[in-house]
């Protein structure tokens, strides 16, 4: 099958910075600029900037906006104040997950949904289909918006000179719309996918280069570096954040995935009856994080065994943790083996290497 890979607005900027570009989720994306390990450490220790403009954005407006969102999302968006964001997922009708997303309340009767790049088309069809009974105003603005994640302990200091908006006032999962780097109406969001703190900056494509350059310049004294998707994945895995397509998909229930905290039975939503039943009856498998005790790196698809060597599950994501120097991963195991402290084995090339199940985040600062 032939298809064209989309380019983000700053594709040439990344190439000039020496990025290795790879096709990811239909986009040509920077996977690394220098070294995965170095980029990872930069974000944990100072500040880095990711171009994640491949992410999708949908606007939902009008008197029926909240009703639609409440129906398609597992989390309770009625709790959101203006300027607040919420992690959520779209449950499907069969017990699984269509996608995970962030819901932003921009104004009364106005929301923005930020979805995974790999699912933009699927999600758009899904939300449009569900909207038939609500008729909220829907707009897919994914192709117009660039998104930069500026992450790390120095992120606020690096960005503060670019805006009058006091960045320390933007709490976790809150956002402001303000002038930033001379550009009006930039969304500055206290969110991220690294656990290192920082902001996600949404701008229109026409301002993308200006804003990127301003951040790089302002971040210079903090040693800001561009960071690729390679380090993004190791950073999120150290925190135990799910990646759609690996750890959650159309067949995994949000309850199995440890997303019970964003599955609110305070309202009805797609498949809520069955999920409620699943919650009452109990799940049979659970997504867990684990840390290796022996040298060896877990990878998606590897078998997880109990101490007797019997299969009890599968790894869904794995890597070497750059911060800890150990293999870490996420995977589904049978419920009875899912408690933190449980000894398990990871089958790496026909050897069962010892690991233990750990509470998330796997990396504790």
């Amino acid at each position: 099958m032939e298809y064209t890979t989309k380019k983000v607005t700053l594709n040439d900027v990344h190439e000039k910075l020496g990025a290795k570009m790879v096709p990811f989720a239909g986009y040509n994306m920077p996977v690394r600029y220098s070294s995965d390990l170095e980029e990872h450490r930069t974000v944990r220790e100072s500040v880095g900037i990711f171009d994640v403009s491949h992410m999708g954005e949908f606007l939902v407006k009008g008197p029926k906006a909240l009703d639609l969102i409440q129906y398609v999302c597992s989390n309770d968006a009625s709790k959101l104040a203006i300027g607040q964001a919420q992690y959520s997922c779209f449950p499907n009708e069969k017990g699984g997950i269509v996608d995970d997303l962030i819901v932003y309340k921009m104004a009364e009767e106005e929301y923005m949904l930020v979805v995974n790049a790999s699912n933009i088309d699927k999600d758009w069809m899904w939300v449009k289909k569900q909207n038939k009974q609500f008729e909220a105003e829907l707009e897919n603005i994914s192709d117009n918006i660039s998104l930069f994640a500026v992450q790390g302990p120095d992120a606020a200091d690096a960005l503060q000179p670019l805006t009058k908006q006091k960045l320390d006032d933007i709490k976790f999962y809150h956002f402001a719309v303000a002038e930033f780097a001379g550009v009006p109406d930039v969304i500055i969001s206290g969110t991220g996918y690294t656990g290192a703190g920082g902001f996600e900056i949404y701008v229109k494509n026409e301002h993308a280069e200006k804003v990127w350059n301003a951040i790089m310049e302002s971040g210079k004294e903090y040693g800001i570096k561009p960071i690729g998707l390679g380090a993004r994945d190791t950073l999120r895995l150290e925190m135990g954040y799910c990646l759609y397509g690996n750890d959650i998909d159309e067949t995994t229930s949000p309850l199995e995935a440890g997303l019970g905290w964003i599955t609110k039975f305070t309202k009805d939503f797609i498949n809520s009856e069955n999920l409620k039943k699943q919650k009452e009856e109990g799940i049979t498998r659970k997504l867990v994080g684990f840390i290796m005790h022996e040298k060896g790196i877990p990878r998606a698809g590897y078998t997880i065994v109990n101490t007797e060597g019997e299969p009890i599950g599968k790894v869904t994501s794995g890597t070497l943790s750059p911060s800890m120097g150990l293999g870490i991963g996420l995977g589904y195991v049978k419920k009875e083996f899912a408690d933190p402290g449980e000894y398990i084995g990871i089958q790496v090339r026909n050897k069962n290497l010892e690991a233990t199940i750990e509470k998330l985040p796997l990396y504790k600062k």
Binding site: K20, S35, L37, T234, T319, L320
Partner: protein, 125 residues
Amino acid sequence: MNFPKELKYTKDHEWVKIEGDTVTIGITEFAQRELGDIVYVEVETVGETIEHGEVFGTVEAVKTVSDLFMPLSGEILEFNEELENSPEMVNEDPYGAGWMIKVKMDGDLPSDLLSSEEYGELLGQ
């Protein structure tokens, strides 16, 4: 990119240095760049005789794991144990300190080994 003239190469991005019937094997500069930071090299076949094209070990980068294939048939004499503690040498010096194994070659040199020029062409350079 650097592909030393005195080495032979494989389509799997390994290099081979032939000194009599002893052969040193590693991965190319291109391979280490593609893989990114190498964090683990596992070779547990020392003492074994392995056929051309079979797996003799694995190399793990942060994000990927790749098999290492024998570019020729022979007995694995030695694994570069420095890589146990310093796998990054494969990134830093792929043709020198980052070598992986030494092999006692069986029979003739396979005909599918590439010269430096041929390998460069394969990569479109």
